[in-house]
Chain length 258, copies 2
DNA sequence: CGCCAGGTTGATTTCGCTCAAGCAATGTGG
DNA sequence: CCACATTGCTTGAGCGAAATCAACCTGGCG
């Protein structure tokens, strides 16, 4: 395995940024993610209303969007980049619960519950995120039943994902879970190479990868070594080369304890 | 530990029951679970509408309410008893994902997604469940924004629960997870004894208990033995006696890998 | 009665965690 | 520009937890 030292990209700035967040004149109606976002069900007039009050902000890699314990001030819509949803316990163990992509909505759980955030969200690379104020959002929900229905669909899908993870964590081995995570990441972070192999640009560190499969980072490192030995994938820093995808897929099924 | 052979109660009838499901004249408005169900936000007239078309049915222990792969025909509202939500993989490994109680709603995920059920639901003891037809439900959602909001809140809460489980599975040891599950079950299935101890009547088998904590049933059996040795709980069939609840609570915190 | 499902227990092995050392790439202060 | 610290990662040794395989018990049922 190729040694991977400190990452090349800027990493984990400590301070969060509320400053610099401003309402921009450009409306959501022209946002490139509109089609796949939850807001696609809204009428042009309503979109203008959101566009007028939403606050768009750019984030650098590692910058925090909101943090566990913060009061909920509204919900966030990812416009550009990848955002990680994280949770920490009292001992400082952090678990990366899920990844959010352009069009995804963050923070709606604590918004609906009227409670403080229980998770943190941070940009995993350069990203842009819009915030929509809670008060206006409540009006929109009241006015437009389709919006609530849309969010309901989203919640249902996310719940299904969470149950999937729950199920697989209980059933599969660490190796199989890592393989599955790689398969999953191929969809968003993978590209095809001329030689027919597939390359994944991992959006997260080894530690976070480990927390996502529910293992220690050393263990993940070892599993990677063995996957290389078996010719299933080749790891080099945050880059993963998968010569034959079906081999990786077989990994997922194999350890299902017949 | 007291040996627990075959359970005394009727168990796991193979056939499901669609027959016997009839629209009853008694309306939801008089249903004893109305207050804590998702339907509490509805006006009396709307409740009558549901009451007229909902189909109530009684289930015996182990009877299946719906099964993975079935088309969704509506959603289910638990009226009496405890219902288990289960998921199976291709090898027959089954995982009990969650428990549902009176007032809880089942099957809304596949209803919203318009897809087939991906989980099965079964009565864990004598139970009664009402089904509300999908077509009428869609109208109700369109007419009453508060209903969608209510379901949204429910989905948010369930999502949070799922994330909690995900998080704890990644962090805690098997022993701590079992302790936590027992604590959780105390709320619904526990009763206080005159001597100050607390007795839990487990609604599920050892195997299902094991699947809920993500361990083999042998392992759960061994953990139980050790919990008895340590005087934390006493297991006898499906009955668990906890002399001092705080000791069990300490179990949960302890193995959090300082 | 024998069978079966559910449960317990033991022996063995495998997996994954902890602790610890060390490397690579980067950043920093003198 | 160099010594040095820091961060992220890899690797090894040892150990403990849990899975696997297998035997056996218990109580209900056809």
């Amino acid at each position: 395995m190729v040694r991977a030292g400190r990452p090349l990209r800027p990493f984990r700035s400590v301070r969060r940024g509320v400053r610099g967040m401003t309402a921009t004149p450009s409306a959501c109606a022209i946002c490139h993610v509109l089609q796949r976002s939850d807001w696609s069900v809204m009428a042009p007039a309503e979109l203008d209303r959101i566009g007028a009050i939403r606050k768009r902000r750019e984030y650098g890699a590692g910058e925090v969007i909101f943090e566990a314990g913060d009061d909920n001030r509204g919900i966030y819509c990812v416009s550009v980049g990848t955002v990680g949803v994280r949770r920490m316990d009292e001992n400082g163990n952090s678990v990366l619960l899920s990844l959010a992509y352009p069009g995804d909505t963050l923070g709606y759980r604590s918004f609906l519950g009227g409670s403080a955030h229980r998770t943190s969200a941070e940009a995993l690379g350069p990203a842009a995120v819009c915030m929509i104020d809670g008060a206006i959002l409540r009006e929109l929900f009241a006015d437009n039943p389709a919006l609530a229905a849309q969010f309901l669909r989203r919640a249902a899908r996310e719940l299904e994902d969470a149950h999937d993870s729950l199920f697989h964590n209980a059933t599969l081995s660490n190796r199989a879970r890592l393989a599955q995570l790689l398969v999953h990441m191929m969809k968003r972070h993978g590209r095809d190479e001329p030689d027919g192999s597939r390359v994944i640009e991992l959006p997260v560190s080894r530690r976070d990868l480990a927390s996502m499969v529910g293992a220690r980072h050393e263990t993940v490192s070892r599993i990677m070594s063995r996957l290389e030995e078996d010719g299933i994938a080749k790891f080099s820093g945050r880059q993963v080369r998968v010569p034959r995808v079906e081999n990786l897929l077989r990994e997922v099924r194999s350890s299902a304890s017949a």
